[in-house]
Amino acid sequence: MSEKKYTLLEAVNLALHRAMAEDDNVVVLGEDIGVNGGVFRATLGLREAFGFKRVIDTPLAENMIAGLSIGMAAQGLKPVMEIQFLGFIYAAMEQLVSHASRLRNRTRGRLTCPLVLRSPMGAGIRAPEHHSESTEALFAHIPGLRVVIPSSPARAYGLLLAAIDDPDPVIFLEPTRLYRMNPQPLEDDGRRLPLDSCFTLREGSDLTLVSWGASVHETLQAAAALAERGVSAEVIDVACLKPLDLDTLEASVRKTGRCVIVHEAPKSGGVGAEIAASLYERALLDLHAPIQRVAAPDIPPPLYRLESYYLPDVGDILAACETVLDYA
């Protein structure tokens, strides 16, 4: 095991280098991703290593990037497109929903769409307006798409490689708040992680904490605080929001009988609602307390002076844990 440590951002970059080296069909395209290496530098060095034909600076039109990627993918390339921020993705929705997600289905497998859409997501980096969205639920609702959100450098590396391998379109969302946090040792061994499994980050017996993306960070801190009080919390990083690994979630909740779901996205219609509803369908009688959700309120992400109130913090998670622990 090498001792070199990587940030989540560097892990993304490492995976892109590896994927492009392994397969000539992998091309990377987006705004400012070539010469500039991406506004966060996620694509740094790719242009130098793989040339302008495979590392493509596009005109500034998100919908165009998506539509172009679909055409490339149908031709057997494996485009990895970048949308500079999730808040700018909405122009591309028709291409993603009406075409990328269903090209295989509508041609009965004759044409396919093995593209990956990478986009930074989430609040907490004092970014300008429209740069802090967490709208993963929009994509998790669409049949034919996969939605993946890594929460550590190792998972970013292994999940991104798996996403690029995958024969179907994958929405791969990278929490900007984690981009440069907590570098971790990482072996560039090309090992893929499964795209349809949760990751149990901490085992516990008293309650289950479920989260994904940047909120996993606070959720782990909450679990540590609970441990100091003698409460054993299991922490699950969902990581793959579509398809959702309900079996792992169900098994954990059956064991602990209590569940708190933590996400940065607005509460109504968030993926937390899907998880809670599914757990009620499967494990109602094993629950000792109603499932609680800790989420953003149904408001646009505030500009940065108030954004910390928007984000669930450790205290918010602990308060919800108390509710389920104290419930009759």
Partner: protein, 365 residues
């Protein structure tokens, strides 16, 4: 007044009665080529008529006719090479037939069965299925053309759309990137004057739709979309340009939608019979027929024989369509992902229960 007055080429060789307006291209000396074009156009029209009849009697669903616009697709289907890629919209019956998409596949598609887009013909296997969301296919064409360019292949992506589609961002974004990257792509606009009920004059303030290409840095021109000779001539040029790295072209083909928008539409609500009657005088099939007859290349006996031949083909296609066994209900899961995710297995089981319940219910009746 429109702000920009740009002189663009408009190409037409035959007048509405099929009389040459001047010298014709050399290739028209070969009678067989003209006859082949005529046969393809008439075959499309007869198929189109039959499909509408099938819709009226409830044997297929909603259908978008190509009536009056057969020449455009005929030119496209005749000129595309085997390894080019066609990205059609929903008025491309003529081009799809020439690409080898079978009549029974088309009937399957409009008859509510996805297998109709799983084209069996080797020529058509790389083609896109017809595109219902407006103008989105123009971007796919640029992606396909980008792949050709990245791989250094001398292939062309050709995409079609209607006049209404040129108002959409997808179309303009496609022109933009095609121009910026000099992609091997040809945009064919079927300007049939009507986007359902919205006429061309209020669709766009520019005097021509072809001039939109100029803003993207490449050539746009108008062609008489009812004159198949003009279409073949200009489309051949556009395809050669694209194939030899000389960039994209936008061809605006001026025609008229003699049919309703689809079988679910009633065009008498928004346009006059007088206008439609006038447009019938310009239609492409009769125009070429007149020309062929005057040249001594076609006569009533040949016409009758072709109609009879097409009727047999149509009847066989309908029989194949109606004999196709229904897809098993579980097929709805089969191609959503390369393989159905184990994480969603429960949904599939519940669906199987739904089917079983309904089958049992039917048995009890």
């Amino acid at each position: 007044m429109p702000h920009s007055r740009i002189e663009l080429p408009f190409t037409r060789y035959l007048d509405p009665e099929g009389r040459p307006l001047g010298p014709l291209p050399d290739w028209t000396e070969e009678g067989a080529r003209l006859v082949a074009l005529y046969r393809a156009m008439l075959r499309t029209r007869l198929f189109d008529q039959k499909v509408i009849a099938l819709q009226r009697t409830g044997r297929i669903g909603t259908y978008a006719s190509s009536l009056g616009q057969e020449a455009i697709g005929t030119a496209i289907g005749t000129l595309l090479r085997d390894d080019d890629v066609l990205l059609p919209y929903y008025r491309d019956t003529a081009s799809q037939l020439l690409r080898g998409v079978s009549m029974s596949e088309m009937l399957l598609y409009w008859g509510g069965d996805e297998r109709g887009s799983d084209f069996a013909a080797p020529l058509a296997r790389g083609d896109f299925p017809l595109c219902v969301p407006i103008a989105t296919q123009a971007l796919h064409a640029c992606g396909v053309a980008s792949a050709f360019k990245i791989r250094g292949e001398h292939r062309v992506a050709l995409t079609t759309c209607g006049d209404g589609a040129t108002s959409k961002g997808d179309f303009l974004e496609a022109l933009n990137v095609a121009g910026a990257w000099q992609l091997p792509v040809v945009f064919v606009v079927n300007n049939n004057q009507w986007a359902i009920s919205v006429p061309r004059r209020i669709q766009c303030g520019a005097p021509t739709l072809a001039q939109k290409a100029l803003g993207a840095g490449f050539a746009g021109e108008q062609v008489d979309g009812n004159d198949v000779i003009a279409l073949v001539e200009r489309l051949r040029h556009a395809l050669e340009q694209a194939r030899h790295g000389k960039g994209p072209t936008l061809l605006e083909c001026i025609t008229y939608r003699l049919c309703d928008h689809t079988t679910a539409d009633d065009a008498t609500r928004y346009r006059s019979a007088e206008e439609v009657n006038q447009a019938w005088h310009e239609e492409p099939v009769k125009r070429l027929q007149n020309f062929l007859v005057a040249r001594g290349l076609w006569d009533e006996t040949q016409e009758q024989a072709l109609v009879a031949e097409c009727q047999v083909e149509l009847q066989q296609a309908i029989e194949r369509y109606e004999a196709a066994p229904a897809q098993d209900a579980q097929e709805v899961f089969r191609h959503v992902y390369a393989s159905w995710p184990p994480a969603l297995a429960e949904q599939r089981e519940q669906f199987a229960e739904r089917i079983a319940r309904r089958t049992q219910g039917a048995d009890h009746e």
